[in-house]
C-alpha cells in the first residue's frame, strides 16, 4: 500500500512540474489532478498523531500534526483548491497557477505543521506566493496594493519569528500547541497571527489587496490566508478574552465599511473581515461549542465566500466593470440569470438563511456566546448578521444585476453574457456543497474537534432568523435607492502607511539632496587636489596670476579600471582567506 505524504508537498511539487507540461489540455488535467490527489492523500492519513518528523540542526521539524482540527481545515482547503482550479481553467499564464499551487501547498503546510519553525517557513511561503496572485493583474493599482500586502505580511512574519525565537529560547520547546498568553513571546506570536486574520486595526491589507487581485486569484486569496490564521489561533490561543472583543468588533467593523463601498469585490472583502470576526470571537470564547463553531464556520465560510467571489469575479470577467456605479441599472439579470442564481446561493449562505450552510455554522458561534451569557457579544454578532444580509444578500445583487443608474450619461448598455461554462460548473459545484452541508449539517459536525450537542434546526432558531432577515429586507426596501454605490473610496487604517509613506519618501528625497550636495562638493575638492598636486607651483600661478594651465584636466575615469581590478583581486583573496579560516576555526571548535 502507498503511504501518505505531506499534502503541502503534493501541491508544491505539482506547481513546480506544471510548466514542464506542454499541451494545454494536459495542463488543465494536471490542475485538477493535483487537488484530487491531495484529497486522496488526506483520506489516507486518517490516524491522529505526529508524522513526518525530520531532524534538522538539532530541532525536530514536524510536517504532520494530524488530529480532527487539522484534518477539518485540510479537507476544506483541498476542496476549495479543486473548485478554484475548475474556475481558473481558462487562465493561460503558468506563473499564476504555479503561485496558486505554492500558496495552497504552504497553507496546507501551516495547517499540518507540528512545530513552530515549520509553521513559520510555510507562513512566509504563503505570503510570498500569494502576492503574485495580485501582481498578475498587471496594472498599477495591483502593483501598489501587492507591495503594501507584502510589506504588512512581512512585518507580521517578522513579529511571528521574533516571538518564536523568544518562545523557543525561554521554553526550550519548538512544539506548536497552546501558548500561554501574557508573555512577550506570546504577544508577538499573537500579533503575527492576528495580522493574517485581518483583525482591525491590522486588517487594511485585506480590503486593499484582494479586490486588486486577478479574477481567479481573488478566489484563492479569500480561502487560505485568513482561515489558516484562524486555525493557528484555535491551536495556540483558545479562550483568550482579548480575542472575544476583537472578534465581535471586527464583525461589526467590516459591516460598517461595506455600507460605503462601491467596488464589488472590496465590499465582499469587508465581509470576509466581518465573517472572520465570528471565528476569532469563537476562539476567544474558547468553550468546546465555540471552538467547534469557529471551525465549522471557517469550513462553511470558505465555501460560500469562494462562491460569492466567483460570482463577482464572473461579472468583472464578462463586463470588465468592477464598480456598483458602473453596473447598477444595466439590468444584467436578463443576461446572466444562472450566475445571479448561483451567487444568491452564496449570499443566502453567508446570511445564514435556514437550509444554507451559514445557518448551521454562524448560529453555533452566536449560541456559544449565548451559552456563556455574554449579552453584548451576542447582540454585536447578531447586528453583524443583519449587515451581512443587507450587503451581500440585498445591496450587492440589487446593485449588480438590477438597480437604477445614478446618472443619465451612464445609462448606455454594457456587454454581458453568462460566464464561460467551466466557471458556471465551479460555481454550481460550490453552490451544491453550500446547500448539502446546510441541509445535512451532520456531515460537517462529524468532522469537528469536539462532540456536537447543538441542533441549529429548532423552531426558535428558524423563526428568529427568518424574522431577522425578512425585516432587514423590509428596512432595505425603504433605503434601496439611497444604498446604491457612490464613486468614492473610504479611508481605512491603511491611510497611515499610504499617506505616511509619502512623508517618509519626501524626507528621503531631502536626505538624498543633502547627500548629492556633499558628494559634489567632495569630488570638486578631490579634483582640485589632484590638479594641484601634479604641479603645485603652476596651479598657484593659474589660481592667482591667471596664467593659462598647461596641465591635462582632471579625468575621473583615468585609473578606474586599474583600481577596479585591484579591488576585485583583493576581494577574491579575502573570500579565499575567509573560507580557509572558516574551515580551520570550524575544525578547532569541533
Amino acid at each position: 500500500m502507498i503511504s501518505a505524504v505531506p499534502p503541502a508537498f503534493i501541491f508544491i511539487l505539482g506547481g513546480l512540474l506544471l510548466p514542464l507540461l506542454r499541451a494545454r489540455r494536459l495542463k488543465q488535467v494536471w490542475l485538477l489532478f493535483i487537488p484530487a490527489l491531495a484529497f486522496a492523500d488526506l483520506l489516507a492519513m486518517q490516524s491522529s498523531g505526529t508524522y513526518w518528523i525530520y531532524h534538522f540542526l538539532g530541532y525536530d521539524l514536524v510536517f504532520g500534526k494530524i488530529d480532527t482540527l487539522s484534518m477539518c481545515f485540510g479537507y476544506v482547503f483541498v476542496i476549495v483548491a479543486f473548485l478554484g482550479m475548475v474556475y481558473a481553467l481558462h487562465v493561460k499564464e503558468d506563473g499564476q497557477h504555479v503561485a496558486t499551487m505554492f500558496y495552497i501547498g504552504s497553507a496546507l503546510g501551516v495547517v499540518f505543521a507540528g512545530d513552530l519553525f515549520t509553521l513559520f517557513v510555510f507562513w512566509e511561503i504563503m505570503a510570498a506566493s500569494s502576492v503574485f496572485l495580485i501582481w498578475y493583474q498587471r496594472d498599477k493599482a495591483a502593483l501598489g496594493a501587492g507591495f503594501r500586502y507584502l510589506m504588512v505580511h512581512l512585518f507580521g512574519g517578522s513579529a511571528l519569528l521574533a516571538g518564536i525565537i523568544i518562545h523557543v529560547s525561554t521554553t526550550g520547546s519548538t512544539q506548536f500547541g497552546v501558548i500561554d498568553y501574557g508573555s512577550l513571546s506570546s504577544l508577538l506570536i499573537l500579533l503575527g497571527f492576528i495580522i493574517n486574520a485581518a483583525v482591525p486595526p491590522f486588517h487594511a491589507w485585506l480590503s486593499d489587496a484582494y479586490p486588486e487581485a486577478t479574477v481567479t486569484g481573488s478566489i484563492f486569496l479569500t480561502a487560505f490566508t485568513t482561515k489558516s490564521a484562524v486555525y493557528v489561533l484555535i491551536r495556540a490561543f483558545p479562550g483568550v478574552e482579548l480575542l472575544v472583543w476583537m472578534g465581535a468588533i471586527m464583525a461589526v467593523y467590516g459591516v460598517v465599511y461595506a455600507v460605503l463601498e462601491n467596488d464589488i469585490r472590496r465590499l465582499l472583502a469587508y465581509h470576509i473581515i466581518s465573517q472572520v470576526g465570528y471565528m476569532v470571537c469563537g476562539v476567544g470564547l474558547g468553550t468546546e461549542m465555540a471552538i467547534n463553531g469557529s471551525t465549522v464556520h471557517a469550513f462553511c465560510h470558505i465555501l460560500y465566500k469562494a462562491l460569492l467571489f466567483m460570482g463577482a469575479a464572473a461579472v468583472i470577467h464578462v463586463t470588465g466593470k468592477r464598480k456598483l456605479t458602473e453596473l447598477q441599472g444595466k439590468n444584467l439579470y436578463k443576461k446572466m440569470p444562472i450566475c445571479l442564481s448561483l451567487y444568491m446561493v452564496g449570499a443566502f449562505s453567508i446570511s445564514a438563511v435556514p437550509l444554507f450552510n451559514g445557518f448551521i455554522s454562524k448560529t453555533m458561534v452566536v449560541a456559544a456566546a449565548g451559552e456563556l451569557h455574554r449579552p453584548v457579544i451576542y447582540l454585536l454578532l447578531h447586528l453583524a448578521s443583519i449587515g451581512t444580509f443587507l450587503h451581500t444578500g440585498l445591496k450587492l445583487p440589487y446593485g449588480i444585476w438590477f438597480g437604477k443608474a445614478p446618472q443619465v450619461e451612464t445609462r448606455d448598455a454594457i456587454e454581458a453574457k453568462e460566464p464561460p461554462l467551466h466557471m458556471l460548473i465551479a460555481m454550481g459545484m460550490t453552490a451544491f456543497l453550500c446547500i448539502v452541508t446546510g441541509v445535512f449539517p451532520h456531515i460537517l459536525y462529524n468532522l469537528l474537534p469536539y462532540p456536537v450537542h447543538y441542533n441549529p434546526y429548532t423552531p426558535y432558531h428558524i423563526v428568529g432568523m427568518l424574522q431577522l432577515l425578512l425585516l432587514t429586507a423590509a428596512a432595505f426596501w425603504l433605503f434601496a435607492n439611497k444604498l446604491g454605490g457612490e464613486p468614492t473610496v473610504s479611508v481605512d487604517t491603511d491611510w497611515f502607511y499610504r499617506k505616511g509613506a509619502g512623508l517618509v519618501m519626501r524626507y528621503c528625497y531631502r536626505l538624498n539632496d543633502v547627500r548629492t550636495g556633499m558628494q559634489t562638493f567632495a569630488s570638486r575638492v578631490v579634483e582640485g587636489a589632484v590638479v594641484a598636486s601634479k604641479n603645485p607651483i603652476q596651479s598657484v600661478q593659474t589660481l592667482f596670476f591667471r596664467k593659462k594651465s598647461v596641465l591635462s584636466p582632471y579625468d575621473a575615469d583615468a585609473y578606474r579600471q586599474a583600481i577596479g581590478v585591484g579591488v576585485m583581486v583583493l576581494l577574491v583573496l579575502l573570500c579565499i582567506f575567509c573560507v580557509i579560516l572558516f574551515f580551520r576555526v570550524g575544525k578547532l571548535l569541533m
Binding site: 447578531h382 443583519i386 468614492t488 473610496v489
Partner: protein, 70 residues
C-alpha cells in the same frame, strides 16, 4: 408581477412575526428571548441603525474622492 412579489414579501414578514408569538423558549438565556418578535424588531431597527451610522461616518469622515491616494 412585482406587485404580487411585494404582497408575498409583506405576507412572509407578517407570518414570521406571527410565528414568533406561537413559539415559547423553555430556558431563555437572555430576557429578550421571552419577547415575541424581538428578532424582527432587532432586524428592522438594526438595519436602519447600521445604514444611518455608516452613512454618517462615511459622509463626514471616511469617504474621499476616488483619486485620493494618487
Amino acid at each position: 408581477m412585482t406587485r404580487i412579489l411585494r404582497y408575498l414579501f409583506l405576507i412572509a414578514c407578517g407570518l414570521a412575526v406571527l410565528l414568533g408569538f406561537l413559539i415559547h423558549v423553555k430556558h431563555p438565556l437572555f430576557r429578550w428571548e421571552t419577547i415575541p418578535a424581538f428578532d424582527a424588531a432587532f432586524g428592522f431597527l438594526g438595519c436602519i441603525i447600521i445604514v444611518l451610522i455608516s452613512k454618517m461616518l462615511g459622509k463626514y469622515w471616511l469617504q474621499k474622492d476616488e483619486d485620493y491616494y494618487d
